[in-house]
């Protein structure tokens, strides 16, 4: 659980995205794309889930990339090589299904871009034609473009302000691609509003869409039900039934509301 490497991927306009490489031979050995870990920064800390971005079976390390958005991710960002996490358990959740689907579109937004990277690598290796759409507010905030480029057959960047790539949302590009060609699968990770729009667009075209959900969790072994989401009318636990779900069935409004259940406490603890 020792941190071996730290890399600040981005630090602009108060938004900092950090990568930590952590020693954990057991997790590295078993982890597959799409799986996650639960971690605690300190004994008094909260348990938070983070997607595994990379694993090195030989070195026995796992890599996590996170935006320092809340109290716990900020505390995590303060750790340095040599420091240890208080707790790290994994790999958790079902891996993303990797096989030859044919033509795939990956849609990543914000720090979700980091989370589509392992899936992109695996799907590319499985012989798929991978088209990647990355979304970012502006040029400076865009991360991992080079890494995704080398794992994609085609790549498109969309920025809100047009400072890089094309101006617009990822879904603008998605619509464009879907209207002129046939695809077999869409996989998306990013902010809830983005994944929700991706699912809305792809539904019109009837293309299977997987999303990786970021529900709040406590134990992440199916014990508490904190992460319950409604998918196609049925209650599922993100931790053990997911984290990947059929985006067309997800009750996005419910997920968005449930993820804000502790927003008051979050504000309070961040001010301290």
């Amino acid at each position: 659980m020792k941190i071996l490497n730290k890399r600040i991927i981005n630090d602009v306009g108060g938004i900092r995205i950090t990568q930590l490489d952590i020693a954990s031979a057991d997790i590295a050995k078993k982890a597959l794309p799409g799986q996650f870990v639960m971690l605690m920064v300190s004994e008094k800390g909260e348990r938070i889930p983070l997607t595994l971005v990379n694993t090195d079976k030989i070195k026995g390390t796992v890599s996590l990339i996170f935006q320092e958005a809340g109290f716990t991710t900020q505390s995590l960002g303060k750790l340095n090589p040599g420091d240890s996490l208080y707790s790290l358990v994994g790999p958790l959740g079902h891996p993303t299904e990797i096989k030859k689907f044919g033509k795939i579109i990956l849609v990543g937004g914000g720090v979700g871009i980091a989370e589509i990277l392992p899936v992109a690598c695996a799907l590319k290796q499985a012989g798929n034609h991978v088209t990647t759409i990355l979304g970012s507010r502006n040029k400076e905030l865009l991360i991992l473009e080079a890494e995704l480029k080398s794992n994609s057959d085609e790549i498109y960047v969309m920025t809100d302000d047009g400072s890089y790539g094309k101006k617009g949302f990822t879904t603008d590009m998605l619509k464009e691609l879907l209207s002129r060609d046939k695809y077999d699968l869409i996989y998306s990770v990013g902010p809830i509003p983005m994944m929700k729009r991706v699912a809305m667009v792809s539904k019109e075209y009837g293309i299977k869409t997987l999303v990786s959900l970021n529900a709040l969790m406590v134990d992440a072994t199916g014990m508490c039900g904190c992460c319950r989401v409604t998918v196609a009318g049925a209650v599922k636990f993100s931790c053990v039934d997911g984290p990947d779900f059929d985006g067309h069935g997800v009750d996005w409004d419910e997920l968005e509301k449930r993820n804000k259940v502790y927003s008051l406490q979050e504000k309070h603890i961040c001010k301290l």
């Binding site: 208080y86 790999p91 134990d219 199916g222 508490c224």
Partner: protein, 473 residues
Amino acid sequence: MKKEPVKVREVSAQIRSGNFQEVVLGYSEEEALLEASRCLQCKNPVCSSGCPVGIDIKKFIFQVTQKDYQGAYFTIKEKNNFPSICGRVCPAEYQCRKACILTKKGSPFASEQAINIHFLERFVGDYGKNNNLEIKQEVNEKLSKFKVAVVGSGPAGLCCAGELARQGVKVDIFESLHKTGGVLRYGIPPFRLPWETLDFEIDYLKKIGVNFVTNYLVGKAKTIKELFSDGYSSIFLGLGAGVPSFLGINGENLCNIYSVNEFLTRVNLMSAYKFPEFHTPVNIGKHVLIVGGGNTAMDSARVALRLQKLKGYPLNTTIIYRRTEVEMPARRLEIEHAKEEGIKFEFLVQPKEFIGDDQGFVKKLTCLRSELGEPDSSGRRRPVIIDGSEFVLDCDLCVIAVGLKANQILINSTPELKTDKYSDVIVDAETMESSIKGVFAGGDIVGGEGTVIEAMGMAKKAAKSIIENFSKK
């Protein structure tokens, strides 16, 4: 002259409802002697038959009357590894005390006159703890070459590990959480079972060589097969009944509706009642409803009440239960404690639908009233809904405490492990061995929701079979 039962000392409801300190203070030596002297020392005692691990109750109580507390401690320890824990959490009124000759025949649970066996057990257990009385290891050279993996550090896992280690078997306990103890830590609140008591028992296991591996999820990080190839000769599964049941009614995913496991885990394991010193939050409401009638319902109600008090809210926590008080499976003591602390009860009520606000937070619960009909398969009278009885309760936080199911992570990763229709692991009732040779199981993963002492009973049986197998090798 007939002696009256000795009441146990408790912190007053007024004081205790504002903190998470232990409620029951236990017997002093004098009180223990007085209570022990009430025991009739029956020629043919029936109390032990009510104990899932068969403690020689008559003997240990006699030893107490002789002030031979050390002897009493070892008498209990012969059968029960954790007297300080069981003396606090055993539902004695359904077990040894119900069997006690002083309980009126046909009573659904122990009469008040029955000997307070659990408080005496606790007194003796704490005496042992405070005087560092420990069972000596009887290391058997032959057994010390075997290594056993215990999966789960709850009551079953701890008990099995203790039994094995005492005889010299090497034991590694794998626990997926960051702290040991399982339900004793995440489920039972510290005001019923202080961490200090639990840690004492766990530290003893460490002393006799049990190795604890936390943050390790068997089934994901390693499979059963891989554990065997790592050199473990046997594996014991004490996985627990970790998956919460929900009601399956509309609105159940609204914010501030918790499963009992989530609510208790946040508060107990993660110390959310000390937020922001501890970083895990938990919400509390002004109109809290708890659905259910078991111990976890009582625990979460009493936790909720304490959170209300800490927050400065008027105390307003209500338990709604579909049958009546008599049918409640909770320990009678917890029901009494809950009442004393100001928890309200609504009996013969069934939830129908949660109603929320625009932000997705629960605001109301629509309910139906019922009456008791014919007995069902459990022997308890079935609640029957009364037509047109719908009514609405204010509810800004709800805890669903209606039962738990088996955790499926390890089971799903082990297809050759046979399970029953409840997804519980099927074992041989005598040996506790599962469908996989060398893999044993006990506790809630076998019997569904049971008690701590029942889990220990199964774990002891399993440990005995494991040792017998090793002795043959």
